[in-house]
Amino acid sequence: MKTHVTLTQNRANLITSRMIQHLIFGLFMIATLTFNSLSAQTQTSSNTEINVKGMVSDEYGPLTGVNIALKGSNVGAITDSDGTFIFPQALKPNDVLIFSYLGYETRRVKIKADTNFINLQLVSEAIDIVGALASDKPYKSKRSF
């Protein structure tokens, strides 16, 4: 009897969770459509695209020469001596910018409709610097005669 109750409960749970899933999916679709049309409207009506500027630094101050690349393309920018950059191409929401600088952890930033200025602090890579070199010097034993 007890088992039976649990079973029906489970089934009820299952049904509700399915319904919720569908509901969420539906809402998501509506949301996506609305947002799409909204952003399309703003783009067409005011003709604005997202122009992104920004500044990159580390814990000590601005970083010069940081690369900013648009994911999946070959378009990019480099930070100036004061750590600032202006991305040369107008971006769309959900575009991803990749910030990379040798010795620092690479960061990815997703562009939102209201992203105009990116202020980013890079963290240096936590690595131990070691090095053993390949050598062609023949091994010489330390003999004890």
Partner: protein
């Protein structure tokens, strides 16, 4: 929508099936030519470099190959920098605060030198390979550990001294060492000479572990009983060229051996490709003079090479096995009556 998903998954399944897990069947010519096209490119824009090297290639293994080959043939090893770092690390061995401070300041110098002059030491190679790979969406990481060479302290390692790469291709991890693959340091003038060695690209883990002992044992990529650190310290001295000619080293499995006069010593190796048997020789040094000798017997069964040798006199012999001019492996034999 569902049908589309199904169709897509079918497509992927077919693709996965079509990809050869044994990369011997993949021709790396195209990947290597990408590395050649961008020879001399700078390191100031890593995303662009990674994109340029990989965007025309079909498979992850080819993309990884182009990156690896580019790093090996464009970044040189800085021996002065290496020595300086080694000295400081040994000095601060028991003072972790000073060691951290040194590491932090040296890291800055190292990366600045790498950016500006494409010179580095092994952490720089492994770092660059993993960074460029990650920018190409390839799962690649640095592995730290102990590298055994003829010039590192043989029986006494104070601290990890080497870094290399593990890369995940088609859901399987592989090992590569871009530092050793790029070239060698001249034994006398310490200049660096580019000399690409293909044997350290996706190397057989069982063979790799004879010279590379990772801090985290899982990066040996071995199953079953793992070799102990003590046994690692007793291995013969294998040179970079061993990876050029061999796929496995079997016997003698120790650097130092004690044998009887006239006892037959058996040397067993697996070759990467057939070789001219006339090119096989031993260089034997008894502390007073050095001679070149031929094995008393050579048997080649497909790619399995078996050599034999006997010492007629007692003594202590440093014995080097060579193919042509390439030094492969060294042992010592104490010959008793």
């Amino acid at each position: 929508m569902k049908t589309l998903g199904l169709l897509l998954s079918f497509l992927f399944a077919f693709q996965a099936h079509a990809q050869v897990s044994d990369f011997n069947h993949i021709d790396f010519k195209k990947a290597d030519s990408m590395a050649l096209v961008y020879k001399g490119a700078g390191l100031k824009n890593l995303p662009e470099l990674s994109h340029n090297l990989t965007s025309n290639l079909e498979t992850d293994v080819e993309r990884f190959r182009a990156i690896y080959k580019w790093v090996c043939t464009n970044v040189s090893n800085d021996y002065g920098l290496y020595l300086k770092n080694k000295k400081k690390r040994e000095k601060f061995e028991n003072d972790s605060l000073k060691l951290d401070a040194w590491n932090e300041s040296f890291k800055k110098k190292l990366f600045s030198k790498l950016r500006k002059r494409k010179k580095t030491i092994c952490s720089g190679y492994a770092y660059l390979v993993s960074e460029l790979s990650r920018l190409a969406n390839i799962n690649c990481r640095m592995v730290n550990g102990f590298g055994r060479t003829s010039s590192t302290a043989i029986d006494n390692f104070n601290a990890p001294n080497h870094s290399w790469n593990a890369v995940k291709l088609n859901d399987k991890w592989y090992l590569s060492d871009p530092t050793w693959a790029s070239g060698i340091v001249h034994p006398n003038n310490y200049g660096f000479k580019f000399n690409y060695n293909n044997g350290l690209f996706l190397t057989n883990p069982e063979f790799f572990v004879l010279t590379h002992y990772p801090i985290e044992p899982k990066w040996m990529l071995l199953e079953g009983d793992l070799p102990s650190f003590q046994s690692f310290l007793e291995n013969p001295i294998l040179y970079g060229n061993a990876y050029k000619h061999l796929t496995i080293h079997q016997t003698p499995n120790k650097l130092n051996n004690t044998i009887q006069k006239n006892e037959t010593i058996t040397f067993k190796y697996e070759l990467l490709e057939p070789i001219d048997l006339n090119k096989i020789s031993f260089i034997i040094d008894n502390g007073f003079k050095t001679i070149t000798a031929k094995p008393s017997s050579i048997i080649l069964d497909e790619l399995s090479l078996t050599l034999e040798y006997q010492f007629d006199n007692t003594g202590y012999y440093d014995t080097h096995f060579l193919i042509g001019d390439d030094l492969i492996v060294s042992y010592t034999f104490k010959v008793e009556n």
